[in-house]
């Protein structure tokens, strides 16, 4: 059971940051995962009043506030156009509309959950996070860091020419994924992220030389095999490691071919 002693709607990021330094205090995202925990929170810090709930687009990037909901990501037309639907695809299986109206992108990324669909996609999109004190940090680096007591304020997605595809495997709709996969084909190569391994999402290089002659069904299969061989997988109640490795090969191949088709 979650017990909260005090609730504060922070009026500035500095106030939120100061409150956040105490171990017993927690910054609220959508509160969905937090609520399932058995813990006592001294002060729950709400960022709702800080204007972090918008998606800004500039010629070079998207700047997504930490309090933007997964439903906003799903419905944003500019992100849909840029990702060719991959953004909506990455969240549409997450429980239901009511859940996605609460879950925040900041909570999802800060949590670096193993099952996170959005972490997988944002890694492939070469995103960065903005921390109130820590500044801009590449997401791949942030995802590997231990949890720290800084406020994640924005996710930044650079605009890069190319295509992206997102695929996930679930045992049943709306469940946690068995495996997640995002592939971005860029001018300088392929960025491939695999998550729900069941460990958190990570970028894998695979063997890029296999795609030197272009993406074909054969080269996509070979590259997917190299990613599946490189990635670490584990077992849990949803699937075994060997099954995940086999699924990884399929999803990476399909995502690559989808990118080629989109291009």
């Amino acid at each position: 059971m979650l017990t909260i002693k005090q609730y504060v709607r922070a009026q500035s990021l500095d106030e939120a940051y100061t409150l956040c330094q105490k171990r017993a205090n927690v910054v609220l995202g959508g509160m969905l995962w937090l609520k399932t925990q058995n813990r006592t929170v001294d002060t729950a810090i709400d960022l709702s009043d800080l204007g972090l709930d918008t998606i800004e687009e500039t010629p070079d990037e998207f700047r997504i506030g930490a309090m933007v909901t997964l439903r906003q990501l799903e419905q944003n037309r500019e992100l849909a156009a840029y990702t060719r639907g991959a953004m909506a695809e990455s969240v549409r299986h997450i429980v239901g509309v009511q859940f996605r109206n609460l879950a925040t992108v900041g909570g999802s990324i800060y949590g670096r959950f193993g099952f996170s669909d959005v972490l997988t996609l944002f890694l492939a999109l070469d995103a960065a996070v903005e921390l109130h004190h820590g500044g801009r940090v590449p997401l791949a680096e942030y995802a590997a860091r231990p949890y720290e007591r800084d406020i994640l304020t924005h996710i930044v997605v650079p605009k890069q020419p190319g295509t992206v595809a997102y695929l996930a495997q679930r045992n049943i709709s709306t469940d946690f994924p068995v495996l997640t996969c995002a592939v971005a084909v860029r001018q300088d190569g392929v960025r491939c992220a695999v998550g729900a391994r069941p460990m958190k999402a990570q970028l894998y290089q695979g063997n890029p030389a296999l795609l030197a002659g272009g993406i074909t069904p054969e080269t996509a299969e070979a590259f997917a095999g190299s990613v599946a061989a490189e990635a670490a997988f584990g077992s849990n109640l949803r699937a075994g490691a060997d099954y995940r490795r086999a699924i990884c090969k399929v999803l990476v191949r399909r995502a690559l071919l989808a990118c080629k088709e989109d291009a």
Binding site: A44, D46, G96, V97
Partner: protein, 159 residues
């Protein structure tokens, strides 16, 4: 702590604990259509509209809803009345426990997308669990309502 919000159009002020959930708050203020289900943000039974958007009231702090507008089925009966008989006609109510959440989310769906396809209905209502019906009855009921409404609209346009 003291909070004030608008509940079904009426201002409500109350003293609450910091961890009071919106679900408990609205039920304490007479809105017992809002059901306590899984309490793990999965079943949709506790759906309310927060500033017009469907959310799970079991996972929202009442304090967070302060200054905002909350609607429950008690405040939306006229809007619900348009289509609930179509769902009942399909025998899709069964035990009825999930029904208020279903109706609330269907209201949200039809406001957002007045003429959804079957796949859009399925996708929007995916977060509402029903342990009796198998979901087809609800889908048939909403489809029957939309067909009847569209037919009536066409007839009106034809004069």
């Amino acid at each position: 702590m003291e909070i004030q919000l608008k509940l079904n159009g009426r201002p409500v002020r109350d003293s609450i604990d910091a961890d009071t959930l919106l679900l408990d708050f609205v039920r304490a203020h007479g809105c017992t259509s809002v059901k306590r289900g899984c309490e793990t943000s999965n079943c949709g039974l506790c759906t309310v509209l927060l500033d017009g958007k469907p959310v799970l009231s079991c996972s929202v702090l009442a304090a967070r809803a302060a200054g905002h507008e909350v609607q429950t089925l008690e405040g939306l009966q006229a809007e619900a009345q348009e289509f609930v008989s179509f769902i009942a006609d399909q025998g899709a109510e069964q035990c009825g426990f999930c029904n208020p959440g279903y109706v609330m989310n269907t209201i949200a769906l039809l406001r957002e997308n007045p003429d959804p396809t079957d796949d859009e209905i399925r996708a929007y209502l995916a977060g509402n669990l029903c342990r009796c019906s198998g979901y087809e009855g609800q889908l048939r009921g909403i489809r029957a309502f939309l067909n009847a409404r569209n037919q009536a609209k066409e007839e009106k346009e034809r004069g």
